[in-house]
Amino acid sequence: MSLLATTLRRTGRRFVSSLPALFGVLVFTFLLMRVLPGDPAVFFASGANSGKEEIEMVRKQMGLDKPIPEQLFLYLKDVGSGKLGRSLTTGQPVVADIRQRLPASLELTFTALLIALLSAVPLGILAALRAGSFIDHAVRMFCVVGVCVPTFVSGLLLVYVFYYMFGIAPDPTGRLDVFTSAAPRVTGFLLIDFLIAGDMAGWLAAAKQLVLPALTMALFVLAPIARITRASMLAALGSDFVRTARSIGLPAWRIVVTYALRNAVLPVLTILGIVFSTMLGANVLVEKVFSWPGVASYALDALLASDYAPVQGFVLLMASIFVMVNLTVDILYSISDPRISIE
C-alpha cells in the first residue's frame, strides 16, 4: 500500500480510459478535414488552369482517389507509425515542422501559466484573508473585467503602452529581434538555449520579446485562477482545523500556507486543466498578434491555404496535450490529497 503504486495504477487506468476519446479525436479530425470544400488537388496542381491529368495525378499522389474508409484506415496507420503527412505549403513533413515550432508555443504558454499562477494565487489568498476589504473588492472587480477583455485587444493595447508610449518593450514581432543571433538549438526553448550557451545578452533579448505575449495570455487566465483560489481559501480558512490551529497559537503564515492553502489547492488544480485548454486556444490569437512562430500560427497559415495535413496534425497535437494535461492534473491530485488515491 505505497502511495507511489496507487498513484501509478490510478494514472494507468486514467490513461487507458482517455484512449477512446483520443481515438474519437483522430476520427473526428480526419472527417472534419475531409469535408473541406476546396479541392486540394486543384489547389496544389500548379494553379487553376492546370490540365485534368495533372490534377488526377496529384489526387492519386495524395491518396484522395481512394474511398473514405480506406483513407481513414491509411491515416490511422500513418499516425500510428508517427507520420502526420507532409505540409504542402512548406514541403516539410508535418512532424518536422511541428517539432521545429512547438518549443516556441510551449515556452510562451508555460511562461504565461507561471506568471498567471504567481500573481493570481497570492491575489486570491489575499482577497480571502481580507474578505470584504478594499483589496477583496479590487481583486473581484479585476476578475470580472479581466475575463471580458479579449486577448487580442489586451495584447495590442500592451504593445501600444509598452512599445509605442514608453518604448521599453522591443518591436513586438517574433521571438528575437533582428540584431540578436539565435543560440545553438538544444531544446528549442530560447531561454534555456541561451543559458546553455552562456549568452546573457541573448537571454535578455529573448526574455524581452517573451514578456508581452506571455503577459497577454496570463491576463486572460488570471481571473478564473484568482477567483477559485479565493473561494477555496475562504472555505479552508473557515474550517475547524484552521480554528484549532489558530487557537493553539501557530504562527499566521503557517496557518495560511501549511493548513489552509494545502487544503485549498485541490479546486485550483481542477481549474488548471480548463485554464490550460483555454490557453491552447488563446495561443492562436496571441501568436497572431505577436507574429510568434509557434505551432498555432503554423496551423492558421495552413488552414487559410487549405493545407490538410498541418491542421490535422495541430488539432491532434492540441487534443493530445490536453489529454496529457488532464492526466498530470490527476496525478497532482493524488499527490496533493492522498485521500483520493485510497478510494
Binding site: 482517455s18 476519446a21 475575463v147 471580458c148 479579449p150 487580442f152 493595447l157 483555454t278 488563446a282 498578434v289
Partner: protein
C-alpha cells in the same frame, strides 16, 4: 397566484438591492439591443464610406473615435457592428440551446445505451481545445458568417447537453412526471411540456453567461481572418485591421471596437450572475 407573483417580485427586488450591478447590466444589455436595432440610422457617418483625405485621424469633435486607414469613422463602424456581433452570438447560443436542450433531455429521460453513446460523443468534443475546434470547423465548412454561427454553436453544444441531461435526470422520477404519465401523456409530451419548462430557469443563466463567451469567440474567429469579410464592420475584424497601425501609435482603431467587445461581454456576464441569484437561489454564492 398573486402571492406567488409578489413573492417573486420581492425576491427580485431583494436581489437587486443586494446587487445593483444586475440592474445596470440589464439596462446595458437592453441598450445594446436597441443600438443593434437602430444603429445604422443614428450614426453620424456612413460606416463603409471611405475618404482617404482624412485617413488615420485621432479622435476629435467631428470623429469621436477617430478615423481608420481609409478615412472611415471608427465610432460609426463600431456602433453599426453591434448588430452583426450580437446576431452571431445570439443565433449561435439559441442554436446550441435548442439542440442541446432537446438532445440532453432525451438522454437524461431515456438513459441507457443512447445516453452512453451521446456521453462518449460529448467526451470527444470536450477533448478538443474549443477555440481550435471552432477554427477548424469554420475552415471545413467554408469561410462564411453562417459557419461562424454553426461552429460557435457546435462548441457550446457539449455544455448544454450535459447540463440538460443532468437536470432532467434528477427530475425524471419526480412525482409530477409520474402523474403526467398516469394522466396519459406520452414520453415526448412529458419531456416537452413538463421537463423542459422546468429546467428553463437554470438554463437561462447558462444562456446569458454563454452569450458573452460567444461574442468573444466570434470576434476571435473574425480576428484571425475567418468568417466576416471586408469591408463589413465587425468588432473582431476592426481590431485585426487596427493591429497593423498599433505600432505607430494609432490606438483608437483597436481601443474603440475592443472597448465595445469588453462592455458587451461584461454586461452579459453580470446579467448572467444576477439571473442566477434571481432564478436559482440554490446556487447563490
Amino acid at each position: 397566484m398573486s402571492t406567488a407573483t409578489s413573492g417573486t417580485l420581492n425576491h427580485v427586488a431583494w436581489v437587486l438591492r443586494g446587487n445593483p450591478l444586475t440592474a445596470v447590466a440589464a439596462v446595458g444589455v437592453a441598450l445594446l439591443c436597441v443600438l443593434a436595432a437602430i444603429g445604422p440610422w443614428i450614426v453620424p457617418y456612413d460606416p463603409i464610406a471611405s475618404n482617404v483625405a482624412i485617413a488615420l485621424q485621432a479622435p476629435s469633435a467631428a470623429h469621436w473615435a477617430g478615423t481608420d486607414q481609409l478615412g472611415r469613422d471608427v465610432f460609426s463602424r463600431t456602433v453599426v457592428a453591434a448588430r452583426l456581433d450580437l446576431m452571431i452570438a445570439a443565433s449561435a447560443v439559441s442554436l446550441s440551446f435548442v439542440v442541446g436542450a432537446v438532445i440532453g433531455s432525451i438522454c437524461g429521460y431515456v438513459g441507457g445505451r443512447l445516453d452512453r453513446i451521446v456521453g462518449r460523443f460529448v467526451d470527444v468534443l470536450m477533448a478538443f481545445p474549443l477555440f481550435v475546434l471552432a477554427m477548424a470547423m469554420v475552415a471545413a465548412l467554408g469561410n462564411r458568417v453562417e459557419n461562424i454561427v454553426i461552429a460557435t454553436a457546435f462548441i457550446n453544444l457539449p455544455f448544454y447537453i450535459r447540463f440538460a441531461r443532468a437536470e432532467v435526470n434528477v427530475r425524471r422520477n419526480a412525482g409530477w412526471v409520474e402523474s403526467a404519465r398516469a394522466c396519459g401523456d406520452s414520453h415526448l409530451s412529458v419531456i416537452l411540456r413538463f421537463l423542459l419548462p422546468n429546467i428553463l430557469p437554470a438554463m437561462a443563466v447558462q444562456i446569458s453567461l454563454n452569450l458573452g463567451w460567444a461574442v468573444l469567440n466570434a470576434a476571435g474567429l473574425s480576428f484571425i481572418g475567418l468568417g466576416v469579410q471586408q469591408p463589413t464592420p465587425e468588432w473582431g475584424i476592426m481590431v485585426a485591421e487596427g493591429a497593423r497601425f498599433i505600432s505607430t501609435g494609432n490606438w483608437w482603431l483597436v481601443a474603440c471596437p475592443g472597448f465595445a467587445l469588453m462592455v458587451a461581454v461584461l454586461f452579459f456576464n453580470l446579467l448572467g450572475d444576477g439571473l442566477r441569484d434571481i432564478l436559482d437561489p440554490r446556487m447563490r454564492t
